[in-house]
Structure formats: structure tokens, C-alpha cells
């Protein structure tokens, strides 16, 4: 479904991704694990098109995506819940969600919105308030649901559990798991590597801009190096 080959990217003169190869198959949940500064966020930004790519290629559902502008990728089914939430602080919660489905104007929008509200009832309570007034965790919920409003066939999640209460974290992982049934592919970046690997099919380990390990989630969880470096067990 999503194919990345030799992907390179840089900030100014400093290259931070030095040729990433990665593939996500349809319906899979794949997680990327890595330390602070490894380049996980940069990778996702390249995939969603907001970060310029300086080498390599991105293919999505057989089409070359490398040069497609960010705003068009959503239409192809690629949605992202970005790091730092990036919600529209001056717009209301409901407007945020509505804009998540910017490309659509059918009845499903309202339905999707109700689904989102069902997922996080607090958002419904606050639907008419400026999103900037939400608490950190509430904003995170909004960021995730807004991405879902885009009807993705492939969802990019950058640390979705950040700032969420344990009970909600568990719920988020459930939601991600349920994506499999909806036939939505997920690429998940998580600091809670243990939780992520537990629900993922496969995983990649990113170290300073390179993929150093990959394999099935079960393999990775069992790998002593990973257990020591990322899981802290």
C-alpha cells in the first residue's frame, strides 16, 4: 500500500533521514520505534508531504507520491495526526472536525462526526468552544479524530497517546486496533513502544535517520536489544 524507498530528507544542510526503506501493506498496523531525535516525526512529515524530500521515493497505492502536494494526499486517503497536535486553536471543536472532512460534503460527514463524539464524549461537550481552550489531552483527542474525519485508507499517527490519561491511552490503542477491521492501514509512531508493538503487526526501529531493525511485532518485543533500549524492561 505504502512504499518508501531510499527516502532522504534534510533541515537546511543537515540531513536527518539517510535513506529509509519501509513498506506498509494494506490493512496492516506498522509501528516505528526510535529515540528522541531519531527522525520519526520527520519521516511522517515526508509521507504526508509537509516536509520536502531530497531523495528516494514514496509510492502510495501504486502511484508515485513523491511530488504530490500535501493537500492532495488527503484526497488519496492519506491522513495524519501530527506531532504537537496542530489543531485550529481559533476555531471551535466542531469546526475542527468539519475541516477534517474538508474534501467531503455528504451525509457521512455528520455521521463521522457523531462517531468521533461517541469516541470522545468530551469533544461533544465542548463542540462549540474554541479548540485552543481544550486541555492538552483533549486537543490530542481532537487531532486524532480530525484525522479520522478525512476518511483515510492509511492513517499516520505521530505519538497519539501523548498526554493522554492511561484510560484513554488504552482506548486509543483499541481504536487503532479496530482500524484493522475497517481496513484502514496504520503507521504508528509511539513512545509507548511496548503498547504499540503489542497491537502492531510489524515494526521498524529508527536510529539517527536509519532503519536499523525491522520485523514482526512479536519478534521485536522479544528482542533483548529492543527491550533494553526502548522498552526499559
Amino acid at each position: 500500500m505504502l512504499n518508501v524507498e531510499g527516502l532522504r530528507s534534510r533541515y537546511g544542510r543537515i540531513e536527518v533521514l539517510h535513506g529509509i526503506d519501509l513498506a506498509v501493506n494494506s490493512g496492516e498496523i506498522v509501528t516505528v520505534v526510535g529515540a528522541n531525535g531519531a527522525g520519526k516525526t520527520t519521516l511522517l512529515r515526508c509521507l504526508s508531504g509537509v516536509q520536502p524530500v531530497t531523495g528516494g521515493s514514496i509510492t502510495f497505492r501504486g502511484e508515485s507520491f513523491t511530488a504530490v502536494p500535501a493537500y492532495r494526499r488527503v484526497g488519496h486517503g492519506l491522513a495524519q495526526s501530527p506531532e504537537g497536535r496542530q489543531i485550529f486553536t481559533n476555531l471551535t471543536v466542531e469546526e475542527n472536525l468539519r475541516l477534517g472532512a474538508f474534501l467531503y460534503a455528504d451525509d457521512r460527514v455528520e455521521k463521522d462526526m457523531q462517531t468521533a463524539f461517541a469516541m470522545f464524549p468530551i469533544l461533544k461537550e465542548k463542540r462549540n468552544l474554541a479548540a485552543g481552550g481544550l486541555s492538552g489531552g483533549q486537543q490530542q483527542m481532537l487531532a486524532i479524530t480530525r484525522a479520522l474525519m478525512g476518511r483515510p485508507s492509511c492513517l499516520l499517527l505521530d505519538e497519539p497517546s501523548m498526554g493522554l490519561a492511561p484510560i484513554i491511552v488504552a482506548q486509543i490503542f483499541e481504536v487503532v486496533k479496530s482500524m484493522r477491521d475497517l481496513d484502514v492501514t496504520v503507521l504508528l509512531v509511539e513512545q509507548n513502544a511496548y503498547g504499540a508493538l503489542k497491537i502492531a503487526d510489524r515494526g521498524y526501529v529508527l536510529e539517527t535517520g536509519r532503519v536499523t531493525m525491522q520485523g514482526s511485532a512479536a519478534e521485536l518485543i522479544a528482542d533483548p536489544r529492543i527491550r533494553e533500549a526502548y522498552l526499559g524492561i
Partner: protein, 290 residues
């Protein structure tokens, strides 16, 4: 009483001019946080192109339409040629670009047109309309009407349409806007076209009252900017109320206190209002949390 009425009518006349200019600022500001200092030049172009198209033989309505279209195109060109290539630049840099653009357009107008003052006849004659012993020119009503229509249109646009929300989203968080599928470049282009068109419309409506020349833009932009800030930048109702209020303050000061310091009075009021309402009368406080 008739006296007060006259001051009020004068204030509304002038205020409607300010309001129209202020309304023009809103869209570009809402899309990009940029106060477009070239907005006054759009108003100038609206007036001047109408004058010269009219001289070249077009009847006024057609000339006005030409002016609005040409100016909207100029707005698009400004975005495509100057604002878009500078994407990612800090807001001040963009503002300086608009200042450069305003000098450029003024310079161009002075070469293409001339440096004389111009005017074309009021749409529906100059016979003053009497209201309670005071008078107002029919053209002033046109301006007021124009301001109200533009206001209503903008208000509906920003509160009722998804495109309007997309404009707001673009300035609020450009990155996120792209992530939800908004073509932010297109939003900017459309905003410039609309702003410029509204500016030109203002020029067409006000020229019979204010006259026009290649350099009327600066003063109009200044007053429009002040009005927009008084009302609260980016909010159509703020632009409308701010403009009318500014006109009224000036007229009442000129009438009752001192005509020398009427502009000063306007600015003193703005300073006072901002002291108590740091984001203008209708300005919403931004809700970023730490």
C-alpha cells in the same frame, strides 16, 4: 438637533468609506495574518480605472465592472508573484512586501494614468436628501449600502461556508490546513482576489464623494486600517462598526470640539478603546494555552 443630525450624517458618510476599506482588509488578514498595506491601492485602482475607462468611452457601470475585475486580477498577481514566492517568510517580511507593492502600484498608476485629481458623477445625482433638517448626498447612501452588502456577504462567508472556514484555518495553522486537504495557495489567491475586488468596489463607490488620484491609497488604507483595528481585525462586524464609529467620532469632534484635532480625537479614542479592549471592540482573544 438639525445640527447634530448633520454631524451624524457626515459621520456616516465618511464612516461608510472607512468601513468599506476596512472590510477589504479582513479577508487577506484572515487568510494570512498579513495586514495588506496595498489595500488602499486597490481602492485607488478601482477609482482610477473607472475614470480612465470612462474617458476611453465605456459607460460608468461597465467601466466600474472593468475596474473591479482588473483590480481583482492585480490582487491575484500580487499573491502569485510576490506573496506566494515568499512563503514561509515572517509576517513582517510579508507586510513589507505589501508596502513595496503599494509603492509599485502607485508608481505604475502615476505613469499609466496621471497625477491629477479625478472624479466621476454620482450614480444618482447630487440632489441632497433631507433628513430632519440635515442633508446627505445620495452617493453616501450608495456607499453605506455597499458597505452593508459587503459586510453581510463576508459575514455569511466566514460563518456559514466551509470555504470561509478554510480561509480561517489557513491563517490559524497552515500546516494543519494542508493536512486536512486545504489547498492553501488557492485560498490565498482567492483571498487576494476578493480583497482586491472589494477594495476596487470601494473605490468605485467613494470616488464621487472623495475624488481620486494616483495617491489616495495611503490615506484610505491608514483610516481603513485604524477602523479595522478599532473594531477588531479580521471580523467583518468589527470593520463595519469600526469604520462607522471612526467616521462619527471625527464628524462629531469636528462639529462640536475642534476641526483641527478631529483626526487626533479619532486616534485618542482608538488608544482608549484598545486600553480597555486590547483586541478591539469585537476582537476575540486568541486561545492558545500553555
Amino acid at each position: 438637533m438639525a445640527e447634530l443630525m448633520q454631524f451624524v450624517l457626515s459621520g456616516l458618510t465618511v464612516g461608510a468609506v472607512y468601513a468599506l476599506v476596512a472590510l477589504g482588509f479582513t479577508i487577506i488578514y484572515n487568510a494570512s495574518d498579513v495586514v495588506n498595506f496595498a489595500q488602499g491601492e486597490f481602492v485607488m485602482l478601482g477609482g482610477m480605472i473607472t475614470v480612465f475607462a470612462n474617458m476611453a468611452g465605456l459607460p460608468i457601470p461597465l467601466a466600474a465592472l472593468t475596474a473591479i475585475v482588473v483590480t481583482a486580477v492585480a490582487g491575484v498577481a500580487l499573491n502569485k508573484l510576490a506573496i506566494e514566492p515568499a512563503r514561509g517568510a515572517p509576517v513582517v517580511s510579508l507586510i513589507i512586501i505589501t508596502i513595496g507593492a503599494s509603492i509599485f502600484m502607485r508608481g505604475l498608476a502615476q505613469v499609466v494614468f496621471d497625477k491629477q485629481l479625478h472624479r466621476f458623477p454620482a450614480f444618482t445625482g447630487d440632489t441632497p436628501i433631507m433628513i430632519m433638517g440635515a442633508t446627505i448626498l445620495p452617493q453616501a447612501l450608495w456607499v453605506l449600502f455597499g458597505a452593508l452588502v459587503v459586510f453581510a456577504g463576508l459575514w455569511a462567508f466566514f460563518t456559514r461556508t466551509l470555504t470561509g472556514k478554510a480561509v480561517l484555518a489557513t491563517s490559524n495553522n497552515r500546516l494543519a490546513a494542508q493536512l486536512v486537504g486545504i489547498n492553501t495557495n488557492w485560498v490565498m489567491t482567492m483571498s487576494f482576489a476578493l480583497s482586491a475586488g472589494i477594495g476596487a468596489l470601494a473605490g468605485v463607490l467613494v470616488t464621487p464623494i472623495t475624488n481620486t488620484s494616483y495617491d489616495v491609497g495611503i490615506a484610505l488604507a491608514l483610516k481603513g486600517f485604524a477602523a479595522a483595528m478599532l473594531g477588531g481585525m479580521g471580523n467583518p462586524i468589527g470593520a463595519l462598526v469600526g469604520g462607522l464609529l471612526l467616521g462619527l467620532i471625527e464628524a462629531l469632534t469636528a462639529g462640536y470640539i475642534s476641526s483641527v484635532y478631529k483626526d487626533a480625537a479619532a486616534f485618542v479614542v482608538i488608544l482608549l478603546v484598545l486600553f480597555f479592549m486590547p483586541r478591539g471592540i469585537f476582537g476575540k482573544s486568541s486561545t492558545d494555552r500553555v
